[in-house]
């Protein structure tokens, strides 16, 4: 009798413990995101519980997610890329001159920007790999070079505006989509780029080699990873994603000399919220995308609460520390 009740109870306990075990495996970024987003929904049901509102929220969140994905590749490698904010600035103010207010220049402009992105990434990778300069310093120097070059090129102030077809990627929506009501271009770009990055990072040798280098450079080198090649490709990847993100940021924000300032730090914060370890060896594209969404949700939440800008900074700082401390402590307990 007693034995049968025990056996009959056991499966249900197992199911609960299985669910609990599965829940414990969920990276902390998802519960954090959900909590913040649901809270936003209570504050402003129209803005965050309708498809229309969610799409409005996704429009600025997507460029940040693209920047964060690129940054994650470098962080997973064990490096830093501080130059992406300057690359964003470069994209916006160099385009303001190069487009020359003519929509026909859109495609060549984007191609040139991508080419410059590849160049910046190659130089970053070269300096880190061959001159052995730590990437923090390399990309810090590159940040000054890229920002200086952009301002030098336009002579200190933006020339002209960004044409509408260039701004499309960051600003426009595809209207009248069933169920979603409307979808911002930037979100579609994000989905394409994130899928691409996901395949590279989680399904190819290159991705595994990045993680291997981030985990233990020496071991990776001894087991035949071409360290210099992988590192250079990764920096190029990051710079190219920064250019793509920069094009969307420019589309959303318009011409502004300080538009990219601090974006490298935001991208790094988004990565860390998404569970990336600074120092390398860990990373996940999907988690980082949600890290960026969380960061954007925090910003929106603070705006929603009607706090003046300075307080927003302060509270954002506190929340970032809190979120990272929560995920750091919760991953520590699991060990």
């Amino acid at each position: 009798m007693t034995a049968s009740t025990i056996t009959s109870q056991k499966p249900s306990v197992n199911i609960f413990s299985k669910i609990w075990a599965w829940l414990k495996k969920v990276p902390p970024v998802y519960p954090i995101f959900l909590v913040i987003f649901i809270f936003l929904g209570f504050l402003n049901p129209k803005g965050y519980q309708t498809m229309n509102g969610i799409m409005t929220y996704l429009r600025p969140a997507s460029p940040l997610a693209v920047l964060a994905i690129g940054e994650m590749f470098v962080l997973a490698l064990g490096g830093f890329d501080l130059s992406i904010g300057a690359i964003v600035t470069f994209c916006v103010i160099a385009s303001s001159k190069f487009l020359a207010n003519d929509p026909a220049n859109m495609v060549p402009n984007i191609l040139i920007l991508l080419g410059l992105g590849v160049l910046v990434g190659l130089i970053n990778g070269f300096v880190v790999s061959f001159l052995k300069v730590p990437s923090f310093i390399t990309t810090l120097g590159m940040m000054m070079v890229v920002r200086g070059a952009a301002l030098y090129y336009v002579g200190g102030a933006p020339k002209g505006y960004l044409t509408d077809n260039f701004r499309m990627f960051g600003r426009n929506y595809i209207m009248d989509v069933p169920f979603f009501s409307r979808i911002p271009y930037s979100f579609i770009v994000l989905i394409i780029l994130a899928t691409f990055a996901y395949i590279i990072f989680h399904r190819t040798n290159w991705g595994r080699q990045i993680l291997a280098i981030g985990d233990n450079v020496r071991a990776a080198g001894l087991s035949g990873v071409k360290l210099k090649l992988v590192r250079m490709m990764t920096f190029v990847f990051c710079s190219v994603f920064a250019v793509l993100g920069g094009i969307m940021v420019g589309g959303y924000g318009g011409v502004n000399v300080t538009i990219g300032e601090g974006m490298e730090l935001q991208a790094i914060a988004a990565c860390v919220i998404g569970g990336v370890m600074l120092g390398g060896g860990k990373g996940s594209v999907l988690n980082v995308v949600f890290g960026a969404f969380t960061l954007q949700a925090i910003v929106n939440l603070l705006n929603q609460l009607g706090l003046p800008k300075p307080y927003t900074d302060a509270v954002q700082g506190l929340i970032i520390i809190g979120v990272v401390a929560y995920s750091a402590l919760s991953t520590m307990k699991k060990r």
């Binding site: 490096g79 730590p134 200086g148 302060a314 509270v315 700082g317 520390i321 401390a325």
Partner: protein, 331 residues
């Protein structure tokens, strides 16, 4: 003795035995190179005018003081991105409390040092107890300070009394007080690192935290101490800057990019970002390289945006000049 191979010339042996960081050679090269350019293209005062030579150092004082603190933190394998806004809050608070009145000076100094110590403690505690990565922890703290300052002050606030400007403008004989302060800070920094238990522990924690802990070092306390020292140097920098500007403004710190520049100068000086290696004398050289560049750009009338580009390139080259021979992979 075993390390001297036949290929080593006397110069290499000398520089190795004297323990002068190799970055000083780079400093001399930069100085000579820009000086010669100055001779050719401008009035050539960099070599002939002692006032300009002194000016190179005076320009470096604010950055130099905080870079010493940053060196401490980097040696412990940590990082401090909050120094820029710590400088700002010091500058603003001290001039706000002083209001141009001599009798308020002690209160103001006590107040800003207390703020600095609290910021350092908070940084250290978040990093050691909450296990937040130092980059994110100090970035967050810097956002908090930024918010607090910008919410309270929006422009120049208060002023410092005339006597207080002595720090920025006074001279002892022919030597500006500011230079003496800088040298004093560097010497104290050197003394702490090379001659005290705390210094030895800090190198240990930065080199390998786990080994240090197992050998009985209270690693958390050491790291918190380093962060408090770093914030205190940021406060000193802020005090120096406010005495120079006569009134504090909230943008002093971020405008000078003291966070990233102090890290850059420390690394140029040979301090490893991964911790455990380096020292304050190298940092001083890194700071002086920045000073030489600023002065030379001024002398040569370089386009302000070109300045940015050149500075970035030179930072990379300066670090590359000693890392290029290392066999270890950089990250």
């Amino acid at each position: 003795m075993a390390t001297t191979s036949p290929s080593d010339n006397w110069f290499k042996r000398m520089s190795r035995s004297s323990k002068i960081p190799p970055v000083y050679i780079f400093l001399i090269i930069i100085f000579l190179f820009t000086g010669i350019l100055d001779q050719i293209n401008s009035d050539g005062q960099m070599f002939t005018n002692p006032a300009i030579m002194l000016n190179i150092i005076v320009r470096s004082v604010a950055l130099g003081i905080v870079a010493v603190g940053q060196t401490f933190v980097l040696l412990g394998a940590s990082i401090d991105l909050s120094v820029a806004y710590t400088i700002s809050i010091t500058a603003v608070m001290s001039s706000y409390i002083m209001q141009g009145n001599n009798s308020n000076v002690p209160v103001a100094l006590l107040g800003v040092f207390a703020i600095g110590i609290v910021i350092g403690l908070v940084n250290g505690l978040i990093i050691t107890k909450l296990r937040v990565n130092p980059f994110i922890a100090t970035l967050g703290v810097s956002l908090v300070i930024k918010g607090v300052i910008n919410a309270t002050f929006s422009n120049y606030t208060g002023s410092v009394p005339q006597a207080f400007e002595w720090f920025g403008y006074g001279t002892l004989g022919p030597i500006p007080v500011s230079i003496i302060i800088l040298l004093l800070v560097v010497t104290i920094g050197w003394f702490i690192l090379a001659r005290t238990k705390f210094g030895a522990h800090l190198y240990g924690v930065g080199g390998n935290s786990e080994v240090a802990r197992l050998s009985g070092v209270r690693t958390d306390r050491v790291l918190i101490g380093a962060h408090v020292l770093c914030s205190v140097t940021a406060v000193l920098s802020g005090i120096f800057l406010v005495s120079l500007m006569r009134s504090g403004a909230p943008w002093v710190g971020p405008n000078g990019v003291y966070d990233l520049n102090s890290i850059a100068t420390a690394v140029i000086g040979g301090t490893a970002l991964s911790g455990g290696k380096g020292g304050v004398w190298g940092t001083l050289a890194g700071v002086l390289i920045f000073g030489v560049l600023a002065t030379a750009f001024n002398q040569l009338g370089v386009n302000p945006y070109m300045k940015n580009i050149l500075q970035g390139v030179i930072i990379i080259l300066a670090v590359a000049s000693y890392t290029v021979r290392s066999k270890k992979e950089a990250a």
